[in-house]
């Protein structure tokens, strides 16, 4: 829907409805549970982590963390540190509720707790459940418990892959079905939801909002030591960061100075903008895990209509349990496609058009985040509820890419990042 007034009203209505639905559902199950003296279970998870980066011209970040080790500071406690608490309430085998709050370094530079789960879980049968409220996207192996690093092999999920599925907090309805296909236990997730989150701006304070509606489908299969997963998400997303607005607004303006190129630039701006733009995310995951060995790999591909480029990414991790320690090695890579559109703003006519054309080049270039990393790490159980993880990551960024870093200095050059190292030491725990 391209009409701005209608879009703003829909966005406002939907976001309020999402919040009111979550609070309404939670209030409902609290009231019902009190009335029926239901069982409660309180639990939590967290990470205390320190990361240090040798590169000084940009910050290493993941998810929506606004800054991190690198240019902002040599070492950072906020990259992975978090604390989550959860309450589960059950009325019967067929009706349960869950509410989870997680505090971590957010895009607005705060640690304000965020609702990361809030839903009613309704058992339709022994094998089918319906969830209403806030869930987390299950397309990837670890995406629906992305913050629970205790249950993951590394200090953090490889950002090359997990950065593709940024909108992982979803408000809507999800159907979950389990079955047996031959010797394989299968699990299907199908959901319709709305998601929105803030993205920090680079080198300045403030955030930009991403929002979208998504339909997703995941097929998971398990047998013995094997776990396989196929995921697909599709929908429409809107995102207009300040940097793109500064380029697209002039293009849309149909300035008389553009002459006959005005309508051409207007159409070009509509191609570039990410306004209810369609996206598709495909993923394939496989894990083989025994008490001794861990081999896990995932591949994901995303298309998004607009100034962003198509993205592909993969990782492969191999780990082996040696007494108390489990060393692991991970190779991860992300590569960006070519720009979806050709720059229609000509150069060489006048300085204003040259500047606008360079702005368009920079905008389309910002979608190139190609990089690869090799991570060597080791983890060790400290006790029954906590795990120590130590890892060193060597990051290499393509010459024409910005990688996945932020807050870059004028001296930043993607191709210069070849042997920079990120050291991380984290303790993950549950209670």
């Amino acid at each position: 829907m391209k009409n701005n007034t209608c879009k703003k009203f829909t966005k406002l209505w939907f976001s309020n409805m999402s919040l009111s639905k979550i609070s309404g559902l939670f209030s409902l199950f609290i009231i019902v549970n009190i009335a029926t003296a239901a069982d409660y279970n309180l639990s939590g998870f967290g990470t205390v982590g320190l990361s240090c980066y040798t590169y000084q011209e940009a910050d290493y970040v993941h998810n929506e963390v606004p800054d991190g080790p690198g240019r902002s500071r040599d070492c950072d406690l906020g990259l992975d540190s978090k604390l989550g608490v959860q309450i589960d309430a059950g009325i019967s085998d067929s009706l349960k509720g869950v509410f989870q709050l997680t505090s971590y370094h957010r895009a607005d530079d705060s640690y304000e707790p965020e609702i990361t789960l809030a839903n009613l879980n309704i058992g339709l049968s022994d094998f089918t459940r319906l969830r209403l409220g806030r869930v987390q996207n299950p397309n990837f192996l670890y995406s629906n418990y992305r913050n629970v690093h205790y249950a993951q092999p590394w200090a953090r999920p490889p950002p090359e892959v997990y950065g593709i599925l940024t909108t992982f907090l979803l408000d809507g309805v999800e159907l979950n079905m389990t079955d047996q296909w031959g010797l394989w236990d299968t699990e299907i997730y199908a959901g319709l939801a709305h998601g929105e989150y803030d993205v920090p701006r680079s080198n300045t304070s403030g955030t930009d909002e991403v929002e979208g509606n998504v339909a997703y489908l995941t097929l998971g299969m398990e047998k013995d030591f094997w776990q396989l997963k196929l995921g697909y998400s599709t929908g429409e997303a809107s995102f207009e960061p300040l940097a793109s607005k500064q380029v697209l607004d002039p293009l849309r303006s149909n300035d008389p100075a553009f002459g006959p190129l005005g309508p051409v630039f207007e159409r070009f701006a509509r191609q570039l903008d990410i306004d209810d733009s369609s996206f598709h995310i495909y993923s394939l995951s496989a894990k083989y895990e025994t008490p001794k060995w861990l081999v896990v790999g995932e591949y994901a591909h995303r298309t998004l209509d607009g100034f962003f480029r198509d993205l592909s990414a993969m990782y492969l991790t191999v780990g082996y349990q040696l007494e108390k320690w489990r060393p692991y090695l991970t190779y991860a890579q992300r590569w960006s496609g070519d720009p979806q559109y050709t720059n229609l703003v000509p150069k060489g006519l006048n300085p204003d058009l040259d500047a606008l054309s360079q702005g368009v080049d920079a905008l389309m270039g910002s979608g190139n985040s190609g990089q690869y990393s090799i991570t060597l790490g080791a983890s060790r159980e400290l006790n029954s509820n906590s795990i120590l993880k130590i890892q060193v990551e060597r990051l290499t960024v393509e010459d024409s890419s910005n990688g996945m870093m932020t807050n870059s200095s004028p001296a930043f050059r993607g191709g210069d990042i070849d042997d920079e190292l990120l050291f991380s030491i984290n303790i993950d725990f549950v209670f």
């Binding site: 639990s43 589960d88 879980n121 418990y145 913050n147 249950a151 013995d224 025994t290 008490p291």
Partner: protein
């Protein structure tokens, strides 16, 4: 960066891991489910005459199966205290290490799919098995079992 070299690197990693995986599959890596001497027994209430395969026991303790074939709701309990028995149960029956099982239940709990079974001592477990018709647990081979309990598996 040369795209071809990256693809070659990625392919090499995949090929290497595939060879490692093949060697693992050809070797006897899986923990044996047939011990010479039993370390312990999986036990239910004497009135619970349901037939149980090893796979069904595993699924009950992983929260994937909620009831026995006789309709009784399954209520699993984990044992606290005897590390040797616990380790043999988890590796022999559940086919997971203690770490894997902790990670598994953390995943289930924090995705809102359930809570992990209660962990109780040997004496508490025997009491639960006597009182709750659908209770299922595991005890060390050195524990004296009375006539109110029924063994459904050994490990």
């Amino acid at each position: 960066m040369n795209d071809n070299s990256n693809y070659k690197t990625a392919f090499s990693m995949l090929l290497t891991s595939g060879l490692i995986l093949l060697s693992m599959l050809l070797s006897n890596d899986a923990y044996s489910a047939e011990p010479i001497d039993a370390h312990g027994f999986v036990v239910v209430h004497i009135d619970n005459q349901a037939s149980l395969s090893r796979d069904e026991i595993r699924k009950i303790f992983l929260g994937k199966q909620k009831s026995f074939d006789n309709g009784l709701n399954a209520k699993p309990f984990l044992l606290d205290g005897n590390e040797e028995v616990i380790r043999h149960f988890k590796q022999g029956v559940i086919l997971e290490s203690n770490r894997q099982m902790k990670a598994y239940w953390a995943k289930r709990v924090f995705t809102g799919k359930g809570v992990s079974p209660d962990t109780v001592s040997t004496d508490q477990l025997i009491q639960k098995l006597n009182e709750i018709p659908g209770a299922i647990g595991y005890l060390g081979a050195d524990v004296q079992l009375n006539d109110s309990l029924r063994i459904v598996d050994s490990f």
